[in-house]
């Protein structure tokens, strides 16, 4: 195992902030904060009220800009994978999250928090396959 104790504290604090944001979404708008679904419904204009989805995605990017200014190491990517690998990864994530109706936020955080067996199944599945793929193609 390799980790720093500071890393664990930051992970816990970040997790609590994520929990706070999805809780505010539920309290004010009564919705699940699922990034893949929000992105898809924004892109396809399919579910009518797409403006809040666009504004939410804008919030994500503005949050990213704040991170870049105040916590630049948080956006560091030291992996240097070839772009073809990243492109394949992106395609699988986009297609897979729509087929399975959710990603780490919708199933992993919101779904498990309301004890949804469906979301727990999805989360265990994508984590297990992720672990398998890293085992097969090699880690960091």
């Amino acid at each position: 195992m390799t980790f720093e104790s500071n890393e664990i504290l930051m992970a816990l604090i970040g997790g609590l902030v994520i929990g706070l944001s999805v809780t505010v979404m539920l309290l004010f708008k009564g919705r699940v904060t699922g990034i893949s679904g929000i992105t898809y419904n924004f892109m396809t204009f399919s579910a009518g009220d797409w403006s809040w989805r666009g504004i939410f995605l804008l919030g994500l990017v503005v949050g990213g800009i704040l991170l870049r200014i105040f916590l630049p190491e948080s956006l560091e990517n030291t992996l240097n994978y070839p772009l073809s690998r990243t492109a394949l990864a992106g395609f699988l994530v986009g297609f897979g999250t729509l087929l399975g109706n959710g990603c780490t936020s919708g199933h992993g955080v919101c779904g498990i928090s309301r004890f949804s067996l469906r979301s727990l199944t999805a989360t265990v599945t994508f984590m297990a396959v992720g672990i398998l793929i890293v085992y097969l193609v090699g880690g960091v």
Partner: protein, 142 residues
């Protein structure tokens, strides 16, 4: 007001992802590298997020309605079907290959790096392809 809340939730969510380490693909790969150099730190993102939300979820859904809208819009499907398993598997494969899931990918666009841009454009392409093959998938995996 509704749009302001959406913006603030997106902003806060992004900050949480950045502080937690989820926007650093090397940490995600380290977390998934269970049989190698496993880095368990990201377990605590789930502990924090699920712990917080699980406490407030029942309190909030006891209300007649959310503050800004008439009713809750929560997923109702309970099916453990092949679509869920295949979809989650494809997602997990992509997550393990690149170290990005959708939220951190979009937040990382702010870094201006070619890897995050490539990830997000490919993810959107994957979503568009899904959109057009959906009628076919509905027949094969009902």
């Amino acid at each position: 007001m509704k749009l302001l809340i959406s913006f603030l939730v997106g902003l806060t969510f992004a900050i949480g992802l950045g502080v937690s380490g989820m926007t650093q693909p090397q940490k995600v790969i380290g977390f998934l590298d269970l049989f190698g150099h496993w880095n368990p730190a990201l377990v605590f993102v789930m502990v924090g997020a699920i712990g917080f939300h699980a406490i407030f979820f029942p309190m909030i859904t006891k209300r007649k309605s959310p503050i800004l809208t008439d009713q809750f819009h929560l997923p109702t499907s309970k099916d453990l079907d092949l679509r869920l398993i295949v979809g989650a598997s494809l997602f997990g494969a992509g997550w393990g290959l690149g170290g990005f899931c959708p939220g951190p990918g979009i937040v990382s666009l702010a870094s201006g790096s070619s890897s995050s841009l490539t990830f997000v454009v490919s993810m959107l392409f994957g979503m568009v392809v899904f959109h057009f093959v959906k009628p076919f998938i509905n027949k094969v995996l009902p």
